[in-house]
Symmetry: C2
Subunit: 199 residues, 2 copies
């Protein structure tokens, strides 16, 4: 899963980079922009949705349920400050994918009980990408979350191809990255390297 | 319509003040908090919804459609940076009230064409309550918006009881206030003074 960042793609357009990394095999894109308004983001969200669906990839929107519903995204990813999964589930159509950020077994179990489809867990390692992320939980912290729930756990934070095997060994279902792909000199090569590392 | 502000009620609880102003005759409450997360606001939103519905008043949520849907609000009020009215209309149930901030005739006509139920128009006079509000449009600016649309226009920005008659004379359907009520020494008396001024 590649999370978008309004600045990480540098001078290139986000859509161009997303199209490229989908071709390289990325299986999910999450539109993440804490700054722009939902109205401003709607055209971009619709284009990213089309790019994802043309490649059979999942398209999610971070936090903004209004935008996720309006652009026809497959789902939404919410943090602990956002609406809880149960609240999202109550107002969204059947099959709508709900991801929840949960860094502890307790939070992950709560998300699962409320109907979350997957848990995003991290940061496993320290990272500069998310200014609001807490302290790193380590591979041990990730493993505790994996053991706590039945739903898939996606590892995030400081992910590199070298680190993928130990994450999968601990039971992670996938990995989420931001700058490791978007800010790479060759985003497609970065995606392929991650995929080769274990998927 | 009284817009809430997380700080305007001072040391008193927002719910206590809202209960009081509903008893005094306020006909609509709009929960407005740009800072807290939707998850954090959900319990408060549900309690305000109950207080409003017990008094037959309308309960709206500013901006956050996720919260509006999850708490069972009557509708949402969106700004020009938020999802446009058409986007909100497409993903909300029949009868869901949609208000749109529009300070010009063009924006008001667009909101009406997209299915908005009312337009919030201002700031008519300069105000300290909304740091993100633009320059004052004056009574003349309000009148131009009123003439441009068939849907009700709610005036906002620097509203006082003394100014209500000229707003109604120009065709405003109602007024929206924040600090004029919430930060008043006696919020109930402030509501009654506004109502006596023309409603």
């Amino acid at each position: 899963m590649v999370l978008t960042d309004p600045h990480a793609a540098g001078a290139r357009s986000l859509e161009e980079v997303v199209e490229e990394i989908l071709a390289a095999g990325a299986t999910a894109i999450q539109l993440r922009d804490k700054e722009a308004g939902s109205g401003e983001l709607l055209p971009l969200a619709r284009r990213l949705r089309d790019l994802c669906h043309a490649r059979g990839a999942l398209f999610l929107v971070n936090d903004r349920l209004d935008l996720a519903l309006a652009c026809g995204a497959d789902g939404v990813h919410v943090g602990q400050d956002d609406l809880p999964a149960a609240g999202v589930r109550a107002v969204t159509p059947p099959g709508f994918v709900i991801g929840v950020s949960a860094e502890t077994p307790e939070l992950a179990r709560k998300a699962q009980a409320e109907g979350a489809d997957y848990v995003g867990c991290g940061p496993v390692w320290p990272t500069d990408s998310k200014a609001d992320a807490g302290g790193a939980i380590g591979v041990r912290g990730l493993a505790a979350v994996v053991r706590a729930v039945r739903i898939p756990v996606v590892a995030i934070g400081g992910i590199t191809p070298e680190r993928v095997p130990e994450l999968l060994a601990e039971g992670a279902a996938g990995v989420a990255v931001i700058r490791a792909v978007l800010a790479a000199p060759d985003p497609s090569a970065a995606v392929r390297a991650l995929l080769r590392a274990g998927f």
